[in-house]
């Protein structure tokens, strides 16, 4: 195996970009369509709040965390490749597609090569008792969580966590940035080769 992607950090180590937090409670919005339809804004929003547990990775810039510049931390969810595969197969069947192993491999390769803007793939890890399979990070969903809460959660759990090491951390951050900065062309370049 080549250079390490991760290090194991203990709960007392301050949070930084690339930290993998497992089973983190986060608040988001229900996927249902939100329309006012004469109701008050606050009533509609109250009914749409949703809490879930998610495995997340810290996306906030390391320097902003180190210098205490942010009160809330940006998180993106990730899940194991096996879980992602299962949900991809379900979604494929719902759309009358045959999720073959060939298509799955092609999909994973495309994610790895950065052809799917909203997805990134992280390597597997085994650091003593701390292990993980490959993880798929989905930038389509972004959570924020108070820094103080996340710090106290880590402290209370008193468990070590995986941390992406440079340059893998920056590679993930760059993929996140690309997802936001991408520009789609209505007419692609005509193939002349």
């Amino acid at each position: 195996m080549g250079e390490a992607w991760y290090e194991s950090v203990d709960p007392s180590t301050p949070i930084t970009q690339g930290d993998l937090i497992i089973d983190c409670p986060v608040l988001g919005w229900s996927p249902q369509t939100l329309t006012l339809q004469g109701q008050k804004e606050e009533e509609v929003l109250k009914g749409a709040m949703s809490a879930v547990r998610a495995d997340v990775v810290v996306m906030t810039q390391a320097c902003d965390l180190e210098h205490g510049k942010v009160a809330n931390i940006i998180l993106c969810p990730h899940l194991s490749l096996a879980d992602y595969k299962r949900q991809w197969e379900e979604a494929s069947k719902e759309q009358s597609q045959n999720p073959t192993s060939k298509a799955w491999k092609a999909l994973c390769t495309d994610i790895r090569d950065g052809f799917l803007w909203n997805l990134a793939i992280l390597n597997a890890a085994k650091l003593g008792d701390l292990t993980t399979k490959h993880r798929v990070v989905d930038f389509h969903e972004v959570f924020t969580i108070p820094r103080t809460f996340l710090e106290s959660l880590i402290k209370q759990r008193a468990l070590p966590r995986l941390r992406l090491l440079p340059p893998y951390r920056e590679h993930l951050s760059q993929a996140f940035a690309r997802f936001f900065m991408r520009v789609g062309l209505p007419t692609p370049v005509t193939v002349a080769w």
Binding site: R53, A54, Q87, T100, L107, H140
Partner: protein, 165 residues
């Protein structure tokens, strides 16, 4: 009342009163910063000019890291030829002497408005925006029984056509 003997170099910029050396340059000592506090407003002579006193967190070692800057019209600040003569603020407004920043303000009357704090460092601008809260609610979450997050997977038909074809 304290009188400076030199024209401040920062007459139009915030004056950081952080330590003895800086205090010396402003002509205001920590003791003197506190002294006017005991004066009642009606005991102070009226002046034509007012300035602003801004609090600053003592723990902020970074001079660019502004913490808690509350803009207040000091009750008594006299400017004469650009000199800062004295500063009179309440204990609540001033905090510790070493926390204080004095500044000329082009808008001294905004003292009773919350003022966005701007913290800057190269390439980054931090602004604490005023927020209008729509609602606040105390939520009870049973985190052990929360559902797991699920991705919204968009199936790329072109991928299937290309790979299965």
């Amino acid at each position: 009342m304290t009188t400076t003997t030199e024209r401040p170099q920062f007459s139009r910029n915030p004056i950081f009163i952080e330590d003895a050396a800086t205090v010396a340059t402003t002509g205001v000592t920590p003791d003197e910063l506190f002294r006017p506090i005991v004066q009642r407003r009606d005991q102070l002579p009226s002046r034509q000019h007012s300035h602003t006193v801004v609090m600053r967190s003592a723990e902020a070692g970074d001079p660019d890291a502004w913490e808690k800057p509350f803009w207040r019209v000091s009750n008594q600040v006299l400017v004469s030829l650009g000199y800062v003569f004295s500063i009179q603020v309440s204990v609540e407004q001033l905090g510790l002497p070493t926390d204080a920043i004095a500044s000329e303000s082009p808008w001294p009357l905004v003292w009773n408005q919350p003022y966005p704090s701007t913290r800057s460092r190269p390439g980054v601008l931090f602004v604490t925006h005023r927020r209008h809260t729509i609602f606040e609610e105390h939520l009870v979450l049973h985190t052990a029984s929360l559902p797991s997050w699920k991705p919204q997977i968009a199936i790329n038909r072109r991928l299937f056509e290309k790979k299965n074809g």
